[in-house]
């Protein structure tokens, strides 16, 4: 033995052991092994998880093999659609939009939504960019508030304007309409 790898290692001896603890006879490269009992709480985790899995597989799971069966999700989406309809506003009422446009709370809420979502394409001053200029009195998709609403909510896909209503919801789109109208007072019909 030139390096004497095991010289500084001491082995645990059988007679030093507390009662009930088994030390295996076999020693390999100076490593000994106890053979202690498995901790009870550990066995609880092991069998608890196996039992849970069996029960889950038996009771909870719809075990669908081909996918496509997303009934519970469809039901939840239905609920959301219902709630949206119940809270919907009359988006053909141009007068209502003008009332919103003269309400400071609506306009500032609309400005906030505009600044997060619209500013990238239509500019901080509504001067346009990738999207159209919104203060140049030219209204390609219609200048009535109800038409502006439709343009924002449904989008103009071939021009690259996405449909915002699914993402923002009716209220926030209406707020943006109010904000845009407030920047275009000339559009307001004279009474």
């Amino acid at each position: 033995m030139s390096t004497g790898e095991e010289n500084n290692e001491t082995l645990v001896k059988e007679e030093d052991l507390p009662e009930g603890i088994i030390l295996r006879e076999h020693v390999v490269d100076g490593i000994q092994e106890y053979d202690q009992r498995l901790p009870f709480w550990w066995l609880c985790i092991l069998f608890g998880m196996i039992t849970f899995s069996i029960i889950y597989w038996l009771v909870m799971d719809d075990r669908s093999y081909e996918g496509g069966n997303k009934a519970s999700l469809e039901a939840k989406l239905e609920e959301v659609a219902t709630a949206r309809l119940a809270n919907s506003i009359d988006v053909t009422n141009d007068k209502l939009f003008w009332e919103m446009a003269s309400n400071p709370a609506f306009v500032s809420a609309g400005e906030a939504v505009y600044n997060t979502n619209c500013i990238a394409c239509h500019g901080a001053e509504l001067q346009g960019g990738i999207g159209f200029n919104l203060v140049d009195a030219e209204w390609v998709h219609g200048s009535k508030p109800s038409e502006v609403y439709v343009t924002i909510s449904k989008g103009v896909l071939e021009k690259g304007m996405q449909a915002w209503e699914p993402l923002l919801g009716q209220k926030r789109v209406a707020e943006v309409v109010a904000f845009v109208l407030s920047k275009n007072p000339d559009l307001k019909p004279t009474e």
Binding site: T3, L46, D61, G68, L157, L167
Partner: protein, 773 residues
Amino acid sequence: MNTNNTTTTITITYDDDIVRKFMIASIFWALVGLGAGVLIASQLNFWQANFNMEWLTFGRLRPLHTNAAIFAFVGNMMFAGVYYSSQRLLRVRMASDLLSKINFWGWQFIIVCAAITLPLGYSRGKEYAELIWPINILVAVIWLVFAANFFWTLAKRNEKSIYVGIWFYIATIVTITMLYVVNHLSIPTSFTHSYPIFGGVQDALVQWWYGHNAVAFFLTTPMLGIMYYFVPKAANRPVYSYRLSIIHFWSLVFIYIWAGPHHLLNTSLPEWLQTLGMLFSLMLWAPSWAGMLNGLLTLRGAWDKLLTDPVIKFFAAAVTFYGMATFEGPLLSIKSVNALSHYTDWTVGHVHSGTLGWNGFLAAGMFYWLAPRLWKTKLHSVAMANAHFWLGMVGILLYVASMWVSGITQGLMLNATTEGGTVLQYPNFLDTLQAIRPVMLFRAIGGGLYLAGYFMLAYNIWKTARSGTPVNGTVEITVEEENASEKRFSTFLNAPVIYSALIVFALCLTIFSNGALFIFGMFLTITFIIVAIAHFEFCKASWNDWYEKLLKHGFGFSVLTIIAAAIGGAVQIIPTVTMQRADNIEGRIQVPYTPLELAGRDIYVSEGCYNCHSQMIRTLVPEVMRYGDYSHLGEYVYDFPYQWGSKRTGPDLAREGGLRSDDWHYFHMLDPRSVSPGSNMPNYPWLFKKPIKVKQLPNKIHAMRMLGVPYPIDLSEEDIQAQIDEQAAGIVARLAEKGAFTDPDKEIVALIAYLQKLGTYELTSEKDEVATK
């Protein structure tokens, strides 16, 4: 047993030179891999750190970071540990020094190849399996060289009974071979490019069967083997429990493989696979903790050394992190938790508590223990090693804590709804990114501290090596020559093996059947389990005898390990792959890519866009609100490789097609911040300069056709060129209208074509639907 024994005494000199080589390589690559990690972590906060250079973007460097950390740092450390401990546990020098050397130099060559090709954008587009096919073959060859060397050594061993550490090495070698080969099956289209033979959901399933078990059998089982050798050595205490080792090993090897689908929860992966993935992950909790217990309780009685000995400090912390990570794993696998955590930084934090905490600290402990022994000297500075420990510890805790905060914050914000649950509270994805920026910065700082610790380690080991001289360990042993004539058959035909087979059979019955057969299968499963337990309680001794015999029978042990590890994959993958595609498309079928779109998709893969963008709208209400209709399986049938992604640093792109204008994409790729203020995406100016690689397309389309994509059989090179020209001209014209100018042959045109195609599908006709039922 035969009594005709003779004994001789021989002296064995171990090959420790190879251990020194692997150890130095591991430390070197650790600095590279961790350094790359700190760089890409900074890129998330400071997009300028992408330097506007294609070789340094996040999408290309993140694969470099993961591959370097897993295969270079931990890989070399694993080889060092395996070569050192196996020789001693088997009481024999490695069978062939030549094979050891081929193993070492081959592995370093692979790493260098990876470090060159990944930044150049050569990628297969699958996580931890990005390397291109020629390197894949090299990896397989070198791995088999290692396997040959190991099993040859095992056959020549002078220690008849195989120690628990060796069990884990055997599991590592056989399982990694299986995983690596199956997940890298590809059809080459050129020397640097190939398509995987699986597509869409099949590719997703195979990828995560591999990805999850790369963690299991590359980052966990060899580390456990190393733990079982070095922890009792360093603590000078017996291993806590042999019977716990047995249960630990077999349950871990069997259960781990099944858990892969937990990476695909709430996606369009069929429900039964998702449920299996979740349940087996939960069942994995106890087997993993068995490893932690055996490690920690072995240290019991050596706690006094914890104060002074850096090795014990590192080991105790490593095993504790292992316990933490393997509790967090099952937690994240619960479907409802996963709905929040998936695609966020929580997963990233989870992985790093495993790699930095468990692997990195175990590696450090092992290096500090080995260095004085390999160079026959004292460790240069114990104080510096202690300082490394505390620096690393603070680093990890900062890292993991910020990832918890970041992941949970972003998950909650992305799922938050308002106005009675009818609209998203934060419809703009960027709002959620801004919210986590400060914590992302802390992550980079934590990673930096951890890296600094490893620099201290490198210096300390360097000085230690310089102060000593390399020595090879020797040992004197007595060899008993047994003329044993045992019935080898008894390895396979005995109570424990038969019970296991019966239970697995009954389990498969419950998985694949309905109605009465299902109930019957469930009844059988429970009955077999109870009978097996009862039988075991009744005759423990004979089962124990059988196992002791098995431990002397390396071949039988390896075969049983392969079988245990193969079952889970077989049950999940074979039905998914062999099932008719038409059965599993949920009424929709993807429209195949045009040649230009295909070229664009390959750019998307090559740039590593999947590292930050998913293409999978999960079956969750907030996802549908944000990104549109949930994804259906049929929408991915022609995706080779699948690109569902695993992390959303940016938004999902599954329904990006047609959502925005071509010029929006043009300006976005040129400077993302011009259209998405506050974005952290790199600029991609080279896409506007590099030409599309049209020449490769005929080969690619041919490969696609072999894989079942319905391209016309008579599509000539001229046809392909004509189709490209026509589609590109349309895009260029539309861009020009908006003042965005480019030549039609540039990569940006192909990429826009691909992005605008995303999410395009056709409804299958009523007739087809009836036919499939």
